[in-house]
Symmetry: C2
Subunit: 65 residues, 2 copies
């Protein structure tokens, strides 16, 4: 399977916020994450990068470090 | 393998711009795509969405439709 884990960088550390992300949609300053299990999560922030081989999505919250 | 294909939406159609994308980095209004073969490409635009299960990255160019 090719889903990825999503992390938010908080205080310089990566905090896992969702496992098994199946899709990612940025819009209106928010990132919408949907897991392969149907969970939906919104992060008020920006995408830092996606490593498709390492299965890792990194996000930065607005106002965060 | 979990790499994806990247498409730019032009005139309402999806044009394949890079196969086997291994990572994606948005910064300064540009999207940097790196393939698993070491190719690097820049798209002046924004990410529309990523479908990790369907292995599809969709981008929109600035000023594009």
């Amino acid at each position: 399977m090719c889903e990825s884990n999503a992390y938010v960088i908080r205080n310089g550390t990566e905090e896992l916020v969702m496992e098994s992300v199946g899709s990612l949609i940025p819009a209106n300053g928010k990132i919408t994450l949907k897991s392969i299990f149907g969970e939906i999560m919104y992060v008020e922030g920006d995408l830092i990068d996606i490593d498709l081989i390492g299965h890792k999505i990194r996000l930065k919250e607005h106002g965060g470090q």
